[in-house]
Amino acid sequence: MVRGFTEGLGRKEMAEIKACTQCRECLRYCPVQEVTGRIAIAPSEKIRIYRSFIEKTESLRALITGRDLPEQLLGDFTRAVFECTTCGACGEVCPAGIDTQRLWPLLRREMVKRGLGPMGSQAEIPGAIESTGNPYNQPASERYSPWFPEGPEPARRAEIAYYVGCTGAYQAQPMVRGDLMVLRAIGREFTMLEAEEEVCCGFPLYITGQHEPLEALVKRLVQAYRDRGVRELICSCPCCVNMMSKDWPYYYGERLPFRIIHITQYVLRALREGGLKIRGELRERLIYHDPCYLSRGVGVIREPREILQAIPGVELVEFDRWGRLSRCCGAGGAARKVFHENATAIARLSIDEAYEKGAHRLVLSCPACYEKVNEAMRGYHRKIMIVDIMELLSGFVT
């Protein structure tokens, strides 16, 4: 039997596909539209085309006119759905409330099941994770060693655990180093998995529609934290936090035995309770970039700002689009390696705005943003210093 385009969707997604009014409000906020201007790959167009796939293969018309779809159309759609950064800005401004940050990965999965996706190097991700535990195919033994700050080792068992994440560990090391220094300064005992034990959270697989290995991966990680008596799992990578809080329960098969929190939530709590003291001052104008999966994904917007404002002397300025409306840095959706030019052009929009607002430093709180913005500055005429929020804070708490 021919596979239907509705088979991989839940009722919520089906309703969403039918709910798009084609108002095109999303076009004004889509970062890919900002740099390409191609309506053919706009969010509303993707939904319209997918809806037409359903109508052409599973409706009354399909029974009369046949179920064939042109290869070219399927190919173009696949490219469009993979060119997206899955930042979710389109869903945020959608008058019909379509949860696009969740919908795009499911449409990608459908195209993967049809053998049309993923794109380029994305296809190497499952193999890399299987052999090394991370999507970058880097040795598992080097996950912590190049950047791990000197000091006391994490506890074997503790109620609090810290998950480093692959992008932080291999591509944005100052960031995760800062995380550890701040966690140590708070002084509460915490645990970490061994370098070989801490594998990918599954987000790169999820976002590229390659969902087959997810269940085993998630069960392995959840069990490892459960064995260590963890009640609260801290992570600084917004993509991991998003994956853990929204999708781990599904693949684990039940409610997780621990809470997931972003590191800024944990640090702000420590600041409020007096467990963390800030020393010194910073007379700088900072601009904070909201990562898509932190702001729109899990709604952490206030916490990073309160932490930055807790540093005496800091002047915090905002992007025109901040919080839930923030613009993607270009790195999202595993598109940065495949659609490199788009990603760089998008990142440069943020660099330009931060530069024009006279910020001394651009503060980030996502390893993918950190890596992408850093990369986009190479060969660009405008430069701005970038710093991760914990990297910055670590200089005032230790």
């Binding site: 239907g4 839940g10 309703a15 039918k18 019909a96 409330g97 809080s245």
Partner: protein
């Protein structure tokens, strides 16, 4: 007779479309959304907010206030006009229905104005970019319906007794002659086209808007 046959074909297609959509919805068995961060707000509050979101299009209000004004007025006037039109189909409506009919007079004027306003708001940004061909077609059909309706109401009056006899005849299978006038024919046929192209968001957007409220919690 031709018009009557077309009417029944359109209604049959509408039914089939509806049934097919229900079947597709039943077929969808994918992964359901898991909410870990359960909302701390009482369910009743969220339901109330969802209802307000659906009635007042608050999501659109948040991002595009000029467009919101046009869209909200259009949808409001469309619903009132539709309710006022029920007097042509149903027999024995309560006496207070005359108030709705009276409101329908004003809503009938508001409808084409709001549609033109939507076009102007869209055109003020970038005409080709921000109006999808599908929506443009829909607006044109709605403009034809509303303008022809207004002309019949105020200038080239149509015998509403004949209209009612024809419409009731359709629903009771005792066919009556079509009311005279090309304007009525245009209005009626454009109405049938609208039924065929009725956007699916009419039924599904209230569901997705409510779902968005459940996802996002209390947020103005």
């Amino acid at each position: 007779m031709f018009i009557i046959i077309i009417t029944y074909i359109v209604i049959a297609l509408l039914y089939i479309k509806g049934v097919m959509n229900i079947l597709l919805l039943c077929r969808a068995q994918g992964q359901d959304q898991v909410y870990l961060n359960d909302s701390t707000y009482p369910r009743t509050v969220l339901y109330m907010l969802s209802l307000l979101d659906v009635i007042f299009f608050t999501r659109l209000f948040r991002i595009n206030k000029p467009l919101w004004l046009g869209e909200w007025l259009f949808h409001l006037s469309f619903i009132i006009v539709l309710l006022a039109h029920l007097r042509y189909i149903l027999v024995g409506l309560p006496s207070w229905w005359s108030h709705i009919v009276c409101m329908g007079k004003y809503a009938g004027l508001l409808m084409p104005l709001s549609l033109l306003y939507i076009l102007v708001v869209r055109a003020s940004v970038d005409w080709r970019r921000y109006i999808s061909p599908g929506n443009l077609c829909l607006i044109i059909i709605l403009l034809i319906i509303s303008v022809s309706g207004l002309l019949m109401r105020y200038i080239y009056r149509t015998d509403i007794v004949e209209v009612k006899r024809f419409m009731v005849g359709l629903f009771t299978f005792s066919f009556q002659p079509l009311p005279e006038g090309r304007l009525f024919m245009l209005h009626y046929l454009a109405g049938l086209v609208l039924l065929l192209y009725l956007p699916s968001h009419v039924l599904t957007a209230p569901v997705t808007i409510s779902e968005a409220r459940r996802r996002e919690g209390f947020r103005i």
